[in-house]
């Protein structure tokens, strides 16, 4: 009864409001739609060569696998099983019947509830791959995109990722993160070294071999250079310093950027790559500084107050703002300030210990880790501190809560990489920002810490 009364009242009020606009018209507001994974059919590539050698089939299959795995991981699609296909895709052309007498029929795909169809042809001459790819929207019977790709047989992975990114961009307006990389530290040598890998955890590459402790590595915007900090000792001194290095990944050359007394760590590049924001503790308390790539201090951005620590500067992609953690209010919490140090605002008030903020590429969200009893979980909030959501929760095999730490946004802003000890050691995982589609990307018994996702590298 109450509901009916409420309804009548609402009806009355709303009718008054919009009487002029919708006079004499029954009107329903349906509300937000449910998101649905679109059914995607992606048959194997059609061989154009008359000579269908096993090498041809193998290379085509590699590319097909990379691209279809990517589309699956994008979480937008449900990849349809080829067993459900009603037509023999190797005998029909990759174009529709409208364009090609030997083409496929949209209705055939519509009848098995296909939303999108990817058709591609493949040819291999010598070492040269040529691919022609089309994306079709089945219900509307239209071609979304058509593209041609040329490459060598050692570029199959890259070609596959590019095809997937082109498909994603055509439909969603945004390229995927499939050609990005992740940097982290690992103890798999017995020491803590810097390691890079592809976004899916493949092709791991140890960067350092200092047999020391490397911490907080990060990417330059073009991912050609990296920064990291290592515990070092000056010759003839008993004191250890956390020294900031910059390393060129192509040449392997590295240089010391900042070796002031105490901490020189937690570095983050400006969007143009010319400046570095980091924590320096030469005057006692750790504070955030802006330095040139040569190491000269440009600006001290925080100063206490009263000896408080200000660390983990994370620069927004447009360079306008810095998120950081500070214990100036008692417990470590997430703060944000303009990149010149002005307009400091506290964003989080809950939790025992909030740390490691990371900006979404569009600057609308900030991810961070927050500690409860004795474990961390990953949270995402709007960049004004509102709308906080927990996106991880995991238990170890002994039933205790696992720790999920050090979040970093993917370049497309849809995923977060982080480190979790649920398997017994800290391994890297990715998760979509709504807390679904969690995937483990490292698979060993060593530890990986402080992952940072690079920009898209196409």
């Amino acid at each position: 009864m109450f509901k009916i009364r409420q309804l009548v009242f609402l009806t009355f009020v709303l009718s008054l409001i919009s009487q002029l606009t919708w006079a004499d018209q029954a009107y329903i507001k349906i509300g937000e739609a449910q998101g649905k994974k679109s059914n995607l059919a992606f048959p194997v590539l059609n061989q154009i060569n008359t000579n269908k050698s096993s090498q041809n089939v193998k290379v085509a299959a590699e590319i097909h696998k990379v691209a279809s795995d990517d589309l699956d991981k994008s979480t937008y699609f449900k990849l349809m099983s080829s067993a459900a296909f009603l037509e023999n895709t190797s005998s029909t052309s990759i174009k529709s019947k409208v364009m090609d007498p030997n083409g496929f029929k949209f209705d055939t795909w519509k009848s098995i509830d296909t939303d999108f169809l990817v058709r591609a042809s493949f040819s291999l001459i010598g070492d040269d791959i040529a691919i022609e790819m089309y994306l079709y929207q089945i219900n509307e019977g239209k071609t979304v995109i058509g593209k041609k790709y040329n490459g060598k047989t050692n570029q199959t992975t890259q070609i596959g990722h590019i095809i997937a990114n082109d498909i994603l961009e055509a439909l969603t307006g945004q390229r995927g993160s499939f050609l990005s990389k992740i940097i982290a530290t690992t103890d798999r040598t017995g020491h803590k070294e810097v390691v890079t890998m592809n976004q899916d955890g493949s092709e791991q590459n140890l960067i350092t071999s200092d047999r020391s402790v490397a911490i907080s590595p990060n990417w330059s915007p073009d991912a050609r250079k990296i920064v990291y900090s290592i515990y070092t000792r000056k010759v003839g001194s008993a004191q250890t310093n956390l020294t900031l290095f910059e390393q060129d990944l192509n040449s392997g050359k590295r240089m010391i950027v900042s070796n002031r007394n105490g901490l020189n760590s937690g570095a983050s590049y400006s969007p143009d790559g010319k400046y570095i924001y980091l924590t320096i503790s030469q005057s006692g308390a750790p504070d955030i500084f802006k330095i040139s790539s040569k190491g000269d201090i440009v600006n001290q951005l925080t100063k206490g107050p009263a000896g408080a620590m200000n660390v983990e500067a994370a620069l927004a992609k447009d360079g306008s703002k810095i998120a950081f953690s500070s214990d100036r209010g008692g417990k470590p919490m997430i703060y944000v300030m303009n990149s010149d140090g002005s307009n400091v605002k506290r964003l989080t008030f809950e939790g025992k210990y909030n740390s490691t903020p990371s900006w979404s590429p569009d600057g609308k969200k900030i991810a961070f880790a927050s500690m409860f009893e004795n474990y961390f979980d990953i949270f995402v909030m709007d960049s004004d501190g509102s709308n906080i959501k927990r996106i991880t929760t995991a238990t170890k095999s002994n039933g205790k809560r696992a720790s999920n730490e050090d979040p970093s946004f993917s370049p497309d802003g849809r995923f977060i990489v982080y480190s979790s000890n649920r398997s017994g050691s800290f391994q890297l995982y990715t998760i979509s920002i709504d807390g679904t589609e969690e995937r483990r990307i490292t698979n060993d018994s060593h530890n990986y810490y402080k992952p940072k996702w690079s920009n898209n590298l196409e």
Binding site: L10, Y27, I28, K29, G31, E32, G35, K36, Y76, E140
Partner: protein, 243 residues
Amino acid sequence: MIIKVNFFSKPELDLTQAIRVDMVGLPDKYTQADIANQQEPQPTKPKDLPEKEIPQEIPDEPIKTTVKEPKKTAEAKPSKIDNDSVNLKTAKKKQKDAFEKLKKLSAIEKIRQAVEQEKLEKATKQNQASSRPIKGRVLSKGTSLTGLDKLQSDSYLVQLDSKIKNHWQLPQWLVGKPLKTKILVKFNSNGTLVSKSVYQSSGNPTYDEYCLRAIEKSSPFPPVPDKFTEVYKEDGVLIGFPE
């Protein structure tokens, strides 16, 4: 979920009824024959109506009451034993009585409407038959609904809303985007679509397409209560995706 129904209970409609002026057109010139034609059917209607409509409606009532009365007497016996249950049962009786009154009232309202509708139909048929539309004197039926009708219409729209909502799906990349489309749907009494059209586009053809698809997948709609069939077939229902 917010349902907005604003074609009901408009004070202006009451006014037009009081003034009795058809705003659509001025009266035609009437001949004596026309007036005679108009007056003639009136005596015949009451004769027709009891045969057609009342037999359908009235049997419903006696059946209900006869079923309920025995129940009351059956309940009355144990009530002598327990004093507390007497109160309960009398309260229940009162409730039932009130409920029946309501039902009767609604039935009467239905009959009254049926009568009016028949009158109108006859009048329009006569007009068509004489191939001379008479303007001015005939009051249009209007779409003003009050009381029980309004609640019933609301509850129909709630059904419609939940049916469409079940089929309102988007690819994930379009969810939460600031896109708004309004679709106008018109449908028959059995709920089959007569037409669906984009009344106000979001500017994104793909999104509009998904809105139309939600309508398509939801049809046929639930059968329409008789008294609203005309409204939904002629004026239709405007559906906002998402608002």
